[in-house]
Amino acid sequence: MNIADASADQFSHRHLLGCEGLTPPEITALLDSSEIFVEQNRQADKTGAALKGRTVVNLFYEASTRTRTSFELAGKRLGADIINMSVATSSVNKGETLVDTAMTLNAMHPDVLVVRHPSSGAVRLLSEKVNCAVINGGDGQHEHPTQALLDALTIRRRRGRLEGLRIAICGDILHSRVARSNIHLLNTMGCEIRLIAPQTLMPIGIQSMGVKTFTRMEDGLDGCDIVMMLRLQRERMNSCFLPSVKEYFHFFGLDYKKLQFAAKDALIMHPGPMNRGVEIDTEVADDVGRSVIREQVEMGVAVRMACLETLSRNLDLGRQKT
């Protein structure tokens, strides 16, 4: 196969820092490659050897259970050596700067760094200082690209397509990197995106990202094929953003009453972890006919395997070039 021809349709970047700027063929290539890993993960023997001998480092500056575990499993199932570094155990607490940590890790020749950081743009800054591939595992309020990819994979498997779907993203848009990555990705793939939130949680100027905004669930959910709920972080619950959990759930929590405004077969999604009774009603969350929340978690591992595998392959291509 001619590598040049193939890379035109594939994800050929060195890093995965965000969904902004990705093309439909690039996204499709990652999703297609994820499909293969979904099947692999359902076998009794889940382990392959695509990343044998590779080193993947999970560098997490923020607490995370599911994303970190998901990347860890993904790496292991590809045969990579994977280590976890979290803030609690690293020299970050000793005052080392992000860039110094990056250079130190870089000296150990990892192949892929998965980074989560509370500051927007931090992962990009780090990627400029290392020779390996970098995957953004979530940076501040900016992007969380693997979450958007796993959401897209979940939707595509259920609906057979992305184009033309009407998708609602509801809740704390202002602080959500998941929302921003999903907006970029789903827009690129031709979805219609509607954001629903109280005005205090709606970022200004977001309409310029190609979305429609609503302040009432009844209006925003109208005819939606997918309803994505966002986690409301505890510190926002009783602050100047919102008066109370009770009021938030009453107007913006997803329950059957509000769900009836969406399309009859609308799917319910949530990036987790859920606050039951805050942004989503327990019954709705557990509705096996509608909720695909657990399927999202399954897709997460497959998508991260695809990303690790693709970026490792690109590293080789890059090395061949030089």
């Binding site: 940076d139 990197r177 200004i204 310029s208």
Partner: protein, 439 residues
């Protein structure tokens, strides 16, 4: 670039004749061919008639080759990094007088610090360094400092630097008490609550980058409040770093009303817009943050129509570590001493203003506001002058900046206008060898 920068050279000065210059003196309104004769530290003669024949035997003659000779720049707003580094950068930027902000370590809130800075700067002899005293103790915005005593020691005015006075009652007392001594009070206009945690101007860009925004209104809300207080107390209020359309309108209206209000802006606010932070460029992280394009255009208009009185460098040196961080954690501020003149000259090159009017904003206007014996080519005044080529281009980079810190928001930008010679008290403190290969 090769540069000769004599320091502390206090040899006895004779007479020097500067000929073949394009003299630009905003104070007298003269813009035309001519020359200047300096004797020791002062200007002895100035005008169109001064030529090589004005020189007697043993007089040093400097041929200006038709370049612009104007008063040394007076920079109203500078954060002092190291005194030596700042003065070198000032000299190479054509700045002969500068005023430092009090928010340094230690805070300028004691007469002995005022005197210490002045003495060290005098010894260095590269630029005249003046200070603003801290308006409140430890810049906490609570208790007034000794304005009278600090002023006697040499403080030209009072300000809390980058800290905005949030308490309206304290601001009222500051203006009121300063009026007792007819002292200038300068303020950094930003409503702290609206700006809390913010790192850039709120809008489409902060939403896209996932950064916490500061609403544009945070500036004018503070200005509106201070204007109301000024109306109540009287006194002289000066507003730093005006950067929005709304602020310009508020100040314009206050001036029409007859309030004793002046203001400044800095080159980033008329030469850059908020797009400069794209890619999380921390060098473009400033306070106030860079604004969207319509505001930049309004600032240019306000400079042109006189609403904005002066241009400052807003020089804020930061070390590499404090800028090489994720955007929201990085320090605010940019160096500006070397780019003050060339970026301001954009206003001339782009046809917004006459050259002499741009120079006025950098020399005569700030000197007059501060009652400084500077900013004009007048017989008997100190021979503080700068010779520059308004057209010569150069590129801003860490190699072309003379300050120790290199955090310029204009990094990588081609600019037009180069300082060739800076003279303080009759002595050359900066010489560009491109202009004077022989010396």
């Amino acid at each position: 670039m090769t540069v000769i920068m004599p320091t502390g050279d206090k040899k006895n000065l004779g007479k020097t004749v500067y000929i073949n210059a394009r003299l630009i003196d905003p104070a007298s309104g003269y813009d035309g061919p001519g020359g200047v004769i300096t004797t020791a530290e002062t200007i002895q003669s100035v005008g169109p008639d001064i030529t090589a024949s004005s020189a007697s035997d043993g007089t040093e003659i400097v041929d200006c080759n038709g370049l612009c000779l104007c008063p040394g720049l007076v920079d109203f707003r500078v954060q002092l990094g190291s005194l030596d580094g700042t003065c070198r950068a000032a000299a190479s930027g054509g700045i002969t007088s500068l005023v430092t902000l009090p928010d340094m370590d230690p805070v300028i809130d004691d007469p002995s610090i005022v005197e210490f800075i002045a003495r060290r700067a005098r010894k260095l002899g590269l630029a005249k360094v003046y200070v603003f005293g801290a308006a409140t103790k430890a810049l906490k915005g609570e208790h007034l400092n000794e304005y009278g005593l600090l002023n006697e020691a040499g403080a030209l005015g009072f300000s809390d630097g980058l800290h905005s006075i949030q308490n309206a009652q304290v601001m009222r007392q500051i203006l009121s008490y300063a009026a007792t001594f007819d002292l200038l009070v300068a303020c950094h206009p930003e409503n702290a609550e609206l700006a809390a945690n913010g790192v850039a101007t709120a809008g489409e860009l902060t939403t896209r980058l996932g950064l916490t925004g500061i609403p544009i209104e945070a500036e004018v809300i503070h200005i509106d409040r201070d204007l109301r207080i000024l109306e109540m107390t009287g006194g002289r209020l000066h507003i730093n770093n005006v950067s929005t359309i709304q602020s310009v309108l508020a100040i314009k209206a206050a001036k029409q009303k007859g309030l004793n209000i002046t203001c400044d802006t800095a080159p980033p606010y008329f030469a850059l817009n908020d797009g400069a932070i794209n890619g999380y460029r921390t060098f473009a992280k400033l306070s106030p943050p860079l604004r969207p394009e319509p505001h930049r255009e309004a600032i240019i208009q306000a400079i042109k129509d006189g609403t904005i009185d002066i241009i400052t460098s807003d020089h804020t040196p930061r070390d590499e570590e404090s800028k090489r961080l994720p955007f929201s954690e990085a320090a605010v501020g940019g160096v500006g001493l070397n780019t003050l003149l060339p970026v301001s000259l954009d206003l001339y090159h782009n046809g917004v203003m006459e050259l002499i009017d741009v120079i006025a904003l950098l020399t005569h206007a700030p000197a007059r506001l501060l009652n400084l014996d500077a900013g004009q080519l007048t017989v008997g005044r100190p021979a503080d002058m700068v010779l520059f080529d308004p057209d010569r281009g150069w590129k801003v980079s860490e190699n072309t900046l003379y300050s120790k810190s290199k955090n310029s928001p204009f990094d990588g930008r081609p600019v037009q206008g180069q300082v060739m010679l800076t003279i303080v008290d009759g002595r050359p403190v900066f010489k560009n060898e491109k202009a004077f290969p022989s010396s």
